[in-house]
């Protein structure tokens, strides 16, 4: 009897082991399934099941768009992961059975609630311990969906099991005593303050009713399916907008076309179907192969000597070979033992890559006496760096007999911005000033989330022109011609109690459909090493004209920079041509920039904003080596929350995706988009074309060293 029991227990253990760890015995086979299943999005956009979040995360540098529709809740969201352990989500929830407002205000538009969610990993999953994450939904919102959670997720073979605690919306079902009551009595009750939103309410976080929540996901890799089941603790039948609940279980399945695209169908609350669509992209690395350096046939010793004696041959050959790489000489000096070349390019984002390709060509054309190749990189007409490459080490590395690290050890990286090579070079290409340049393309303007309609927009034909009168002196213009718009529906004039520096946006959009967005003269200079200067005059942006400038000190070898901008501006007429409104002011800021490790960049501004309010702006972003950038900003000024209006203070986020990540050649452009949830007058900055930090922000020594492995690429 004992023996039978013992065997039975052993058998049970064996079976348990086999079931739980059967997939782990083949650790790499999952990588070979034709379908790639990745953690799914919850309804709200961040990683999770449906209502219930889990402790899984997207890979860092991922952007995910999620659309999830049911009745009455429809979610549209954008989630970003600046780190492997952090997700941030911005979303709109459409509540289809509620109106945005009275008919006279918003017609029959349904209610939209916007929200911002954060999720943070506390613990990585290990053999015995689950992954743990904590998160907050609707962090500064209207409290309609405010929730906090602590969740644990553990994988057993193809099962992913989640359990945790929910507060706020996720704790609505209650069921257990809030364990945080042991720390402080204030966690006992949750004071709900439903308002316009925009305020952080940390006092209510993790307080009030608490629920145990959980769910199970199962990956069927062979068919690209993920099955999901959860116990919904949000109690949707007893909220401000109650819906019928026949079951607390939500169940469904997602089908993965690829790692980047999946669709889902679910049955929720026992009576409604939900469909979802998710598209995501990871921008950590450039995965599309790019052209290798063009093949350069080295000159023979005799030809090199001839090119040295008749330097015109050298300069012409250099000019031609560099043009084949879309690198343009701004100046060059060929001395006995070193060559200096000043280059500009709109093809390569990384100055290290352009420098490497230039050095390769110089080496193929110059005599063996040349020991040093100095590459002077230009951005516009400003010289931003000088990379002095040891020719012998470079040639060895280029022939796979050395490494880029060895080249770095024997190279120097400096800056002599106030004495650009082009000002005294032996060879300078002839440039006929004035130099005219132009481009035109269709463009979109839009306003999202207004009471008149969720999306109102304009399609216009935009033409940009520039006229360079001399080095560093340029006139820019930008005008738009309306092709189609829906701006006539605007019906929500500004009620701001402070000067309407931004909140008259509806008037600017509807009256300025055909506009002269900018007509501006700019002058740049670098009077001293590492000091840069810019002067502006004209129609500076769509809403303001005036004059002013910027000074920036960027010590090349350091991780910080600081500057000052000052502008005297007058508000432009709504039609954005040559008329002006009465409002004028002086605006300006002291700025401080610091580059932290891991590509984290910060900007801190203090000064006077367009409406005359005074305060500070903090901008934090992470720039990945691929150039992909995620950032957030917030501005707090001396305006009260009442004066500022909905939102309480200015804040927003932005994303920049380099276009080269989509193409099979290098480009310097980027697809950038940002979102100000609300257009308010408080904390409004003047939009500055060609800001000095925009031109010089990623050009210091550490940026060149970060990209040093591109030298031979």
């Amino acid at each position: 009897m004992f023996k039978r029991r013992f065997l039975s227990f052993k058998g049970f253990l064996c079976w348990t082991f086999l079931v739980l760890f059967s997939q782990q015995a083949l650790p790499n086979i999952e990588e070979y399934f034709p379908y790639k299943i990745v953690p799914a999005a919850s309804n709200f956009g961040n990683t999770g099941i449906y209502q219930v979040p889990n402790a899984r995360f997207m890979k860092e540098a991922t952007l995910r768009f999620n659309f999830s529709s049911s009745y009455p809740f429809e979610y549209t969201s954008l989630t970003a992961s600046p780190f492997n352990w952090f997700e941030a989500t911005y979303r709109y929830v459409e509540i289809k059975n509620r109106n945005y407002g009275p008919d006279s205000y918003s017609g029959n538009q349904s209610l939209k609630d916007k929200g911002f969610d954060l999720k943070l990993r506390l613990l990585n999953e290990s053999t015995y311990l689950p992954a743990a994450a904590v998160g907050i939904r609707d962090i500064a919102g209207t409290a309609l969906f405010s929730s906090e959670y602590l969740v644990f997720t553990k994988r057993y073979g193809n099962f992913d099991i989640t359990a945790g605690l929910g507060w706020g919306g996720l704790g609505a079902a209650g069921g257990i005593k809030n364990p945080l009551e042991a720390l402080d009595d204030s966690f006992k009750t949750r004071t709900i303050s439903v308002g316009e939103g925009g305020n952080f309410s940390p006092k209510v976080w993790f307080s009030g009713k608490t629920s145990l929540l959980g769910g199970i996901e199962y990956d069927l890799h062979k068919y690209g399916l993920k099955f999901k089941l959860e116990y919904d603790t949000t109690d949707p039948d007893s909220t401000r907008f109650p819906v019928e609940v026949d079951s607390r279980l939500n169940v469904g399945v997602n089908y993965y076309f690829s790692r980047s695209l999946n669709i889902g169908a679910a049955f929720e609350r026992g009576n409604q179907f939900r469909i979802s669509f998710v598209i995501n992209g990871n921008f950590l690395e450039d995965t599309i192969p790019k052209p290798r350096p063009k093949n350069v046939i080295a000159l023979s010793q005799k030809q090199k000597q001839e090119a040295f004696e008749n330097k015109g041959i050298f300069y012409r050959s250099l000019n031609k070979s560099l043009r084949d790489e879309s690198i343009y000489i701004q100046g060059a000096n060929y001395k006995e033992d070193e060559v200096d070349v000043s280059i500009g390019t709109t093809r390569f984002q990384s100055q290290t890559r352009a420098a490497g390709r230039t050095a390769r060509i110089v080496s193929a054309l110059s005599t063996d006496e040349v020991k040093k190749i100095n590459i002077h990189s230009m951005n516009g007409d400003l010289e931003i760096s000088k990379i002095s490459i040891n020719r012998k080490e470079f040639d060895a590395a280029n022939n796979s007999e050395g490494s880029f690290q060895e080249v770095l050890a024997k190279s120097s990286i400096t800056s002599q911005s106030s004495e650009p090579l082009y000002s005294n070079a032996d060879f300078m290409p002839l440039v006929d000033f004035p130099e005219f340049n132009w481009s035109m393309s269709p463009s979109l303007k839009h306003q999202i989330g207004g009471p008149e309609g969720f999306y109102l927009g304009q399609l216009l034909w935009k033409t940009d022109m520039s006229l360079k009168l001399s080095r560093n002196l340029i006139i820019h213009s930008s005008f738009g011609i309306n092709l189609y718009d829906t701006f006539d529906e605007f019906n929500n004039p500004s009620a701001s109690s402070i000067p309407h520096v931004r909140s008259d946006i509806q008037d600017y959009l509807s009256e300025g459909k055909n506009n002269l967005a900018r007509l501006q003269a700019q002058y740049f200079a670098s009077p001293f090493k590492d000091w840069f200067f810019r002067a502006d005059l004209g129609l500076l942006e769509e809403m303001f004209a005036g004059y002013g400038g910027e000074v920036l000190y960027r010590p090349f070898n350091r991780e910080f920079a600081y500057g000052l901008t000052v502008h005297r501006v007058r508000q432009r007429g709504f039609e954005q041509r040559f008329s002006f409104r009465d409002y004028e002011t002086t605006t300006g800021h002291l700025s401080f920039y610091y580059d932290f490790p891991y590509g984290i960049n910060s900007q801190f501004l203090v000064g006077k904003y367009l409406a005359g309010d005074k305060g500070v702006t903090l901008d934090l972003s992470r720039r990945f080596k691929s150039g992909f950038t995620l950032g957030v900003f917030a501005t707090k000024t001396n305006l009260s929350a009442e004066e500022f209006g909905e939102g309480s203070f200015d804040k927003g986020f932005y994303v920049s995706v380099p276009t080269k990540l989509f193409y099979s050649d290098f480009t310097t452009g980027a697809i950038s988009f940002g979102l100000h949830p609300l257009t308010k007058d408080g904390g409004a900055l003047l939009y500055q074309h060609n800001s000095l930090f925009g031109i010089l922000g990623d050009t210091n020594r550490s940026s060149i060293i970060r990209d040093w492995d591109y030298l031979l690429d």
């Binding site: 790499n28 086979i29 990588e31 070979y32 399934f33 034709p34 379908y35 890799h221 062979k222 068919y223 192969p289 290798r292 005219f436 132009w438 481009s439 035109m440 393309s441 269709p442 033409t463 022109m465 005008f479 011609i481 055909n514 039609e575 041509r577 276009t659 989509f662 193409y663 099979s664 480009t667 452009g669």
Partner: protein
Amino acid sequence: MKKIYISFFFLFLNGCSILESNKIAPGYTQAFSAIKNALIGYENTTITPNLVEAIPYASSLIRIGKGPYGLMILETQDKNKTTWVTADGVYLVMEKGKIIKTKGLSNNISNMLMSHSFSRSDLLSLNQDIVYKYYYSYDFPKLSDLEVSVTFKIRGKSKIELLNQQKELTLIEEELRNDFIGWNVINSYWVDEDSFVWKSEQYISPRLPKITYEVTKKPSR
């Protein structure tokens, strides 16, 4: 005010004697081209019969997925095994036209065992009823001996347009199947009466797209 825009427009047109098309919606043009290449694939615009003729080595055309066409040069030949190399350092080892080892791709065949040998088989007389076995080993990520069931079908002759000639070739289909991971693909080989593979479309790993290969200058025996 419309006059201002019209005069701006004509001023601008006068300013440039030739309307440069690359300045009109350059971003959209680039995006359109990238999307077209991603959906339809790249066209072969660079490798011509003249270029192939000018190179004094055996060569073949290669394309990975919908990517651009490239030229491979024969590096070595050992009986029925040939090693081909591309300008960007991709090596393919083939046994009578079948890819059996690779280097330089994002995922490579590090070893391959076959229950029959391409080199020893007369491809035109393959037994179509036998289920053969292949065992693929890969790197990055490492996987050893992925068992694949293989069946062949001889589909018949047709005229095939190659880069520099037209040939009447027999299509042989090779079906690969692994039910555990759900990998089920069909490779195609176009062979002449000597069982020489002139063209093929091969899936070599569940992690790689189809590799298209076409001989442009046949190796001498």
